[in-house]
């Protein structure tokens, strides 16, 4: 598919990522400036009552938006809302999903989420892709 407009209602675009690594989260900490150690250092995560380090919610949200990047000539993400629904751990295998739920002349509305290898939603929300 080369154009987002060619999607039919109900259709889903998806992408499965490589397993989450510590380096992914170290890189995101550096790039975003969010150095909360529960995302990178095992002992700090344990001290916070977690079984291990967890991904930044914003890392997952950032990844999800890349489903729309190739379509920059058609429009842009005008609204993007996400609820953080579950934790992401090292080695989790995440799948990004965007389902077209409504289509008008001005915009494409998507239901979006990221699921892990147990089919559990870790983030969920909506994207309004406004067309030019």
């Amino acid at each position: 598919m080369t154009h987002l407009k060619e999607l039919v209602q109900g259709e889903t675009i998806k992408m499965t990522l490589e397993p989450v690594t510590r380096m992914d989260l170290i890189k995101y900490s550096g790039a975003s400036g969010d150095f909360n150690p529960i995302h990178t250092i095992d002992e700090e995560a344990k001290k916070a009552g977690l079984p291990g380090i967890i991904a930044h919610g914003m890392w997952t949200m950032g990844n999800l938006s890349k489903l729309f990047t190739p379509y920059y000539e058609e429009g842009y993400i005008q609204d993007y809302s996400i609820r953080f629904a579950g934790m992401v751990f090292l080695n989790d295998v995440l799948t990004l999903n965007a389902q077209l739920v409504e289509q008008t002349d001005e915009a494409l509305h998507f239901k979006v989420n990221v699921t892990n290898q147990h089919d559990k939603e870790v983030v969920k929300g909506k994207v309004k892709f406004t067309l030019y």
Binding site: K27, S32, M58, W59, N63, S65, K66, E73, I77, D79
Partner: protein, 149 residues
């Protein structure tokens, strides 16, 4: 009380959408698309320049809300909401400020939880809003006690 801060805004801080920061950010979310990093692709696009990923405003600085001291540990990020009037361009100046939109408490299974809604505004050099970035932060009972609120 945090409720006293509802409606309070920070001062505006100038940020620049730096090319190298955009490259690193795009790399860190596995989205090294040429529209973010390749000048030629930017020039040939409808924008005539490179753009930044939608969640990039996370890296911007906005001023502090005087007196509101949130701990840097123990906060839970509940929701995040972006609204854009146009994409963000690489190289442009963005003036950011934050506003405490709302604060309320709810009884949860682990005690009373606080919900803090903060919104960040990004303006261009003429004062037009480019984007808003809203975060809902959950403050647990334990953290609330340590903050003495």
């Amino acid at each position: 009380m945090i409720t006293e801060f509802i409606g309070v805004t920070s001062e505006k801080v100038k940020n620049v959408v730096e090319k190298e920061l955009v490259r690193r950010f795009a790399d860190s979310i596995g989205d090294l698309h040429p529209i973010y990093i390749d000048e030629e692709t930017g020039k040939n696009s409808r924008y005539g320049k490179n753009i930044a990923p939608v969640t990039f405003p996370r890296v911007f600085r906005s001023g502090e809300v005087d007196g509101l001291n949130l701990p840097n540990k123990g906060l839970i990020h509940g929701e995040q909401i972006y609204h854009y009037n146009r994409p963000l361009f690489v190289g442009e100046e963005v003036y950011c400020y934050s506003k405490i939109e709302d604060y309320f408490e709810k009884e949860g299974s682990t005690g009373k939880m606080g919900f803090l809604k903060m919104k960040r505004y990004g303006e261009d050099t003429e004062g037009n809003i480019i984007f808003t970035e809203e975060s809902i932060i959950i403050i647990t009972e334990t953290v609330r006690r340590s903050m003495n609120v």
